[in-house]
Amino acid sequence: MEPDDRPDEPESADPGQAEDLLAALGGAPADDTAPVSAPIEDRVVEPEPPACRLVGIAVAADGHDILQEVSIDLPAHACTVIMGPSGSGKSTLLKTAAGLIVPDTGYVEILGTDPSHAGDRELERLRARNGFVFQDDALWQNLSLLQNLTLPLQYHRHDLASDSVTERINRLVGELGATRRLEMRPANVSAGERKIISFVRAIVGDPEILFLDEPTTSVDGEHADLMIRKLKELKEHNITLVAVTHDARIASQLADYVIVLKEGRVLRFGSLHEISRSNEPEIERILTDVLSETATYDGDILELLDPDTNTYLT
């Protein structure tokens, strides 16, 4: 399933932006001195391959279907948010997309590679291009917070000198307002701090795809804002984001596409604009239920998803 439509253009585009957009598409700018470009229609625009492709996925556990008939192309360089009621299979879908769960039927391609057919080294290289933030942080308990952050770099970034590693970690930890007590073990810091360190661990190796499972859960508002700001920055740098979240701020400020799941099936996959304006009562009800779990917005809850009308969260 491909998204039902592409993200909408801004309704009131800045003329400068429009020119930039034209230039990016190869259109001739309104400048006689500029070199003449070939007409747009003569060019073959290769469609961007999806960051992650799930084909005919089914996952079952203890005789129960967790995911059924899921076929989705997750667009590259965009943010896709997976939403659905509890138990709808969101985390399973995320882990399957990340190659952490091997589906019972179907296959997954991450950055063009099927992890189940990749050799050890190819798989390690592929994994090193991804980051994953677990719902319950999943920090390595027998290592200090600092060791949690340095270990992935020791394995995959042999090009980095130890000074660069330290500088990189300190910069990210500072940007996210995380604890300075990095010599401590995870068990001795708060759940929020662990979550932030888990987030830093996922991004410290410059991933191309970042999978996030409820990244702001147990993080206070101020640090969640810093996290969202960092996610925006990553998105601007063309990092593909795939997030499971109940946090309306992430959905409204970051999402380009939304997957609505129910009972292990994809109910709808489309752009944020399309999903937020959906008139289907079931979609509306699911999103309202999901978002109202964290939001305290006194109004139309679906407005939270719409960046054009949303003034509360910006």
Binding site: F132, F134, L151, Y155
Partner: protein
């Protein structure tokens, strides 16, 4: 489902389980080779494992082997002279301590201490998604977690067996000083006369094989934990029961190979 179908399903399940375990074993050997030949990022895990399994178990091993050596000498010196075979005490000591009980008892101690600890630790790591975190970060958990434990436990079992022999034979010497004092030189000569190269080699081979068995079974059961914390004690119990069973079988096979 009829009885025959149930038996068939159980048999298929057992065969699949066995094949899976064999695949795990092959992967551990492969990743251990890579752990040794590539960058030593996980060397800290290896050091910690040797410290826990080898060094911290020294006092337990020393106590047991000293006591065992003493008991063998007391029993031997009270029984063997009645048959005019008092000189066989050295052979009995070598057979019991070096050939059989040294490697086996050391392995049982390691299973009880480290086997359960490894299964419990890995089971907890599965539950808290730490293993998944290794996988998703591109760090092979078999190479980073299992391989250093495999090397650490095998090396420690070998060294503990050496300690067991030293303390067991030393303990017997101390006891002989109270029961039937003999000079140290004479004692050592008698001991060396009874000790053959086959005894040393079989003891070393046994302790290496036993260490490998303990590590493989403990890591296998630890990683078999799936979702619930209630699976962790089950994994630890299986680690001990399967471990000791396999140790006794392996001991019998190696003894058969070397001495028949």
């Amino acid at each position: 489902m009829g009885a025959i179908e149930r038996i068939g399903a159980a048999t298929i399940g057992r065969v699949r389980g066995l094949l899976y375990a064999l695949g795990f074993m092959v992967d551990v050997f492969k990743q251990t080779f890579r752990f040794v030949t590539r960058r030593k990022v996980g060397s800290r895990v290896l050091t910690m494992q040797v410290l826990f399994t080898g060094v911290e178990a020294l006092s337990v091993v020393a106590t047991i082997s000293l006591s065992l050596g003493a008991v063998i000498v007391i029993q031997g010196l009270s029984l063997l002279p009645q048959f005019g075979q008092g000189q066989l005490i050295f052979d009995v000591l070598i057979i019991v301590i070096t050939r059989e009980l040294g490697p086996l008892l050391t392995a049982v101690i390691v299973t009880a201490r480290s086997g359960t600890a490894i299964s419990t630790e890995l089971g907890n790591m599965v539950i808290s998604h730490e293993i998944e975190a290794y996988v998703v970060t591109g760090i092979n958990p078999i190479r980073h977690i299992v391989a250093p434990r495999f090397i650490g436990v095998t090396l420690s079992t070998l060294l503990l067996n050496l300690y067991f022999n030293i303390f067991g034979l030393l303990g017997s010497f101390v006891v002989t000083q109270f029961v039937n004092p003999i000079p140290l030189g004479e004692y050592l000569n008698g001991m060396l006369a009874s000790l053959s190269l086959t005894d040393v080699v079989s003891s070393v081979v046994k302790s290496i094989v036993f260490g490998a068995i303990i590590a493989l079974i403990a890591t296998y059961h630890g990683l078999q934990v799936e979702r619930a914390t209630t699976e962790i004690p089950v994994a630890a119990i299986r680690s001990v029961s399967h471990g000791i069973t396999m140790l006794i079988i392996a001991n019998a096979i190696i003894t058969l190979v070397y001495y028949i």
